[in-house]
Amino acid sequence: MAAPGISLDLRGLPPPEPMTRILDELARLAPGARLRALLPHEPLPLYPLLEQRGYAWQVTALAPDRCELLVWRHGDGQATPDDA
């Protein structure tokens, strides 16, 4: 089980604010923790930025206008979800 992480609801923000918030918050992500963000749509342009910075991610569609993004440091076994 991952350590307590960061949880954000970023629906209602125009681009690129959700991405800036996520990148800013990731800088303070503790080892073993995950960032969880609720978004109105899949943040496709964010993925290359996460990849470059050494993060892994998983997206789950919750509804047509809501998805959940989980981000953790690549190779952090404690933070990696069981189904990832």
């Binding site: 681009p15 690129p16 109105p40 930025l49 990849e51 470059q52 998983q58 997206v59 569609a61 047509p64």
Partner: protein, 430 residues
């Protein structure tokens, strides 16, 4: 679902930007033609300046921006990587620029050689676009409504291009027998409705909820609009070529356009983010323009418009809707791309994080400049629409359009200069 997108999938920034930066130049040229020709330009839809204007705007501005947007959006929306994007984008751009210039020169009285040059150049540009984007869409791993809609829009462009090339062949080799009036009507319908409207709509499914922070478009509209409009266009084509009545298909098309416009206005009115900015106002103006063009089109079916107002539906459509929506999209897309590419370069420069903070989107294209762009556009549109009733105003309208496109161009150039300045700062910080 775990998405897999790699950096190489996004094309270099120079690919979409070369299209975006060229569009205002053709817009300024169109303004120049109107200022030079004045009232004579709109004496009928067949005058050489009217035909040159239509293609400077339709190909040089609208298709130019839409090509650049497709090269950018295809990887992001459809998950498709365009191989050799810089080479293919560059070739498509060069052919489109040269072909549009040759076609406009042909209409403005140059030798038939200009038409003979325009045919292979434009056929090459649009054929290349259709081949690259069409192949990409056929292989797209993401098959949402916008990807399906893009296929309809692209096939609309294919029909419009084929009809346009046949007409241009007729200009270049006048011995070719041709039902010019019917072919021109169909070319116009496929270009404006089957290509421009459909692509704007399928891009709107994504960018309106995203950038204007609205709820999603109704799923039935996203699924139905493109195939329904395409089938109505096919019906219109068959009826026109068979010499049957075309008003039922025309009415259906006008209602479909009006429906899309009203639905977008409803979404914008109920948006979650209350702040009004220039981009939102451009979108609102564009949708009012589209609804007005549809109403004017319907009115012309019932009561024949006086000759002076015969161009009203087309003018409202091109200037009131299409040019407005392109301005509104560029105001968001260009600053977003600059921000995104700077972020990518920041992450790829190991020593820089912490010592370099990329500017936010508002700094790339500040709101006062965006409002100036909106103001100059609204003035040009108002004078042009007034010029339909008072032709003496058309020269002034041309000058106003030069100003509006120069403002757009200057805003884009400024954003690109800021991008390069920031890249240099980043290199210094590394």
């Amino acid at each position: 679902m775990t998405a897999a997108l790699s950096l190489e999938q996004a094309p270099p920034l120079s690919v979409p930007l070369r299209f975006f930066l060229t569009a205002p130049v053709f817009g300024i040229a169109a303004g120049g033609v109107l200022a030079w020709a004045g009232p004579a330009a709109f004496a009928s839809r067949w005058t050489p300046p009217a035909l040159a204007l239509a293609h400077l705007l339709g190909l040089g501005v609208l298709t130019m921006v839409m090509c650049g947007a497709l090269f950018q959006l295809l990887p992001v929306l459809a998950g498709v990587r365009i191989v050799r994007a810089r080479l293919i984008g560059g070739a498509c751009h060069a052919l489109l620029v040269a072909g549009t210039a040759a076609l406009a020169a042909g209409f403005l009285g140059a030798d038939t050689v200009a038409f003979r040059l325009a045919v292979p150049l434009l056929g090459g540009a649009l054929g290349l676009l259709l081949a690259v984007v069409g192949t990409g869409l056929a292989r797209a791993p993401r098959r949402h409504d916008s990807v399906r809609g893009m296929r309809w829009a692209l096939s609309g462009l294919a029909v419009a291009t084929a009809l346009g090339l046949i007409l241009a062949l007729g200009h270049g080799w006048s011995t070719l027998p041709l039902a010019r009036a019917a072919f021109t009507d169909l070319h116009l319908a496929w270009a404006l409705l089957g290509w421009v409207t459909l692509l704007v709509a399928v891009v709107a499914w994504q960018v309106v909820p995203m950038f204007q922070v609205t709820t999603e478009y109704p799923p039935w509209l996203r699924r139905a609009l493109a195939p329904v409009m395409w089938l109505l266009l096919a019906w219109l084509t068959a009826a026109s070529l068979a010499g049957r009545v075309t008003w039922p298909a025309t009415t259906g098309l006008a209602l479909a356009c009006a429906g899309f416009a009203v639905q977008t206005l409803v979404l914008l009115a109920r948006r979650r983010r209350r702040r009004r900015d220039a981009s939102l106002n451009f979108w609102t103006l564009a949708m009012v323009g589209l609804a007005a063009a549809a109403l004017a089109g319907l009115a012309s079916l019932v009561v024949p418009l006086p000759p002076r107002l015969g161009l009203a539906p087309a003018v409202l459509f091109v200037a009131g809707f299409a040019l407005a929506v392109i301005n509104g999209m560029l105001l968001k897309i260009v600053p977003f791309l600059v921000w995104l590419h700077l972020q990518q370069q920041l992450a790829a420069t190991p020593a820089a994080p912490g010592r370099f903070v990329p500017p936010d989107m508002h700094a790339v294209l500040p709101e006062p400049r965006a409002r100036l762009q909106l103001g100059s556009f609204a003035l040009a549109l108002a004078v042009l629409v007034a010029g339909l009733a008072v032709p003496a105003l058309l020269r002034l309208a041309g000058i106003c359009w030069i100003g509006a496109f120069a403002t757009l161009g200057w805003n884009l150039v400024r954003a690109v200069r800021l991008y390069h300045a920031q890249r240099r700062r980043l290199a210094t910080a590394a």
